[in-house]
Amino acid sequence: MFDMISPQLVFGQLLIGLINGSFYAMLSMGLAIIFGLMNVVNFAHGAQYMLGAFTAWVLLNYLGVSYWPALIIVPIVVAFFGIMLERLVLKPLQNLDHLYGLLATYAVALIVEGLVRQKYGSTGLPYGSPIPGGVNLGFMFLPYYRLWVVVFSIVTCLGTWLLIEHTKLGAYLRAANERPDIVESFGINVPRMVTLTYGLGVGLAALSGVLAAPVYQVSPSMGSSIMIVIFAVVVIGGMGSIIGAIATGYMLGILEALTKVVYPAGASTVIFVFMILALIIRPNGLFAGTGKS
């Protein structure tokens, strides 16, 4: 059966897998960072990603701001929205059961997605590629923008991972999760740090959204549909493990694409089958041990 599959198809799908995996990795990483410090599963992560893409689209179409400045402006704008959300909604809930944080962010996602859909409709809006063209590698055609997405996401993931695992700031973040009282006694403002971390996570989601705008169509449901996969990724990778989230994100993107080559009907479900198998074989997550249990 394999001899019928052309290398063009395999490499083409691999590239798509790598692209999807880039977004899975970036979003899962943000979710893991937020969960690691706040114990909040940010269900609004998908909505914030969608908001990033829409903000970029609005900037381009109404204000003429192009992709490159949007890549910097949008995460800041959406992160600001996230910071307000943390102060108004999540802070009052922080001492309650963590399920309330999940439900509250879900409610926010529902409201945001509904409002965007009410304003712009359900159909996807096009966003032109900022780097048109591509290169023919002989075995496949590689659009420049897709190459940029993969490189940019790997750099962002590694950079964020280094920031959190190997700098003093990251050490504070991790310590504040374990013993906020002691970290506070060193004169560090833990509540402000929590707020800024949430802002960082939301900014990363918005950044992914801008990055995604030229790849996928900008549509209100882009966030909720990717959240389904992101939840599975975070469950497989182990909650709160940043490197686990990144690795699982890329891995599942590629797994999904290869399934499309071998067994197209299973492409939409393979991630969930993988999650179920992972739960049965390794109930604490594939990368358990690096994170918290």
Partner: protein, 326 residues
């Protein structure tokens, strides 16, 4: 106690005469969701487990019940039981997998598995995919009672709903229900007393799935069709909203919530996205300002007035703070 009987009698009278004054399909929808909300309340309110994909049992059973009615000529109650059986079996499988993690991760896993079930239902030929399953017949109940008009069928649905609520009441007030509540409040303590919490949680999950399946199967016979909407996430999220709005872990709260949300949906159905936006806003307000829900707040108020002199009211159903990562 007599007061309670009086209220119950009054409610029975209202429910019996209701279809003379309102559209029976709306009433039946409310009754289906009352059962669904009870099943969800058993898990979240009494056991402390947030299933974030309860639609898989609701919609899955709707398809199974519909399929049985369409392809065989069995009587209605057998088709409904078939749906309940299928949902319970699915509950056993999903519970076995997802109860390996607790708290928030359990919620995420059930969410992902529910999406998996959604995709499977989309691809299975018997469900009709995007078109849904149409023309589900209402066969005779027990092979003899013909209740094919909506007006007659309302009383069938009412009887089933009343039995389900009674069953729910029995489960919650049994020793088994006591242990579920103890697990919700302090799982390690229950374990140290020699019980196996995982067994109790799995049984609660299966019971809840079966009850959700009954609600879904019943809804398929009410509307005489089953669609992907029944297995989709908005249904899972609606039942969460109903339960929280009415009052988590209160007996009647989620039923009140079910009625209110169905009426709200009916009212807002012509306003496009505003139905979902309103649901989101209500959920947010409930979570931030009154986590005990309507009935829970009312109970707390009554208790406060009654025990003005005594120092402290009993604990509410609201979750206590748990250790991080639980």
């Amino acid at each position: 106690m007599n007061m309670r009987l009086l209220w119950l009698g009054l409610l029975a009278v209202v429910l019996i005469v209701a279809p003379f004054f309102t559209y029976p399909v709306t009433l039946m929808t409310i009754l289906c969701f009352v059962i669904f909300a009870c099943s969800f309340n058993l898990l979240l309110g009494y056991t402390g487990l947030l299933c974030f994909g309860h639609a898989m049992f609701f919609g899955g059973a709707a398809y199974i019940t519909g399929h049985i009615l369409k392809t065989t000529h069995v009587s209605l109650e057998l088709a409904l039981l078939g749906g309940v059986g299928a949902a319970s079996l699915l509950g056993l499988l999903v519970g076995w997998i997802s109860l390996r993690r607790s708290g928030i991760q359990f919620a995420m896993i059930t969410f992902a598995i529910a999406q998996f079930i959604y995709f499977i239902m989309l691809q299975m030929p018997f469900t009709g995919g995007e078109d849904g399953m149409q023309g589900i017949p209402r066969t005779k109940l027990f092979g003899i009672i013909d209740a094919s008009t909506s007006f007659e069928y309302y009383y069938v649905v009412l009887a089933i709903a009343a039995l389900s609520v009674a069953l729910f009441y029995r489960i919650v007030h049994s020793p088994f229900g006591e242990i579920l509540r103890a697990i919700r409040d302090n799982e390690p303590r229950v374990e140290s007393l020699g019980f196996k919490p995982e067994h109790y949680k799995l049984l609660a999950f299966v019971l809840s799935a079966g009850l959700a399946g009954l609600a879904g199967g019943l809804k398929a016979t009410v509307y005489q069709f089953a669609t992907l909407a029944d297995v989709s996430f908005p249904i899972s999220s609606e039942v969460i909203l109903m339960t929280l709005l009415g009052g988590l872990g209160t007996l009647t709260g989620p039923m009140v919530g079910a009625g209110l949300i169905i009426l709200l949906n009916d009212y807002l159905s012509s306003f496009g996205e505003w139905a979902l936006i309103t649901q989101g806003i209500i959920l947010l307000i409930v979570i931030i300002f009154f986590r005990r829900g309507l009935v829970g707040e009312l109970n707390a108020l009554r208790r406060k007035m009654r025990t003005k002199a005594s120092p402290k009211a009993p604990a509410s159903a609201e979750f206590a703070s748990r250790s991080p990562g639980a």
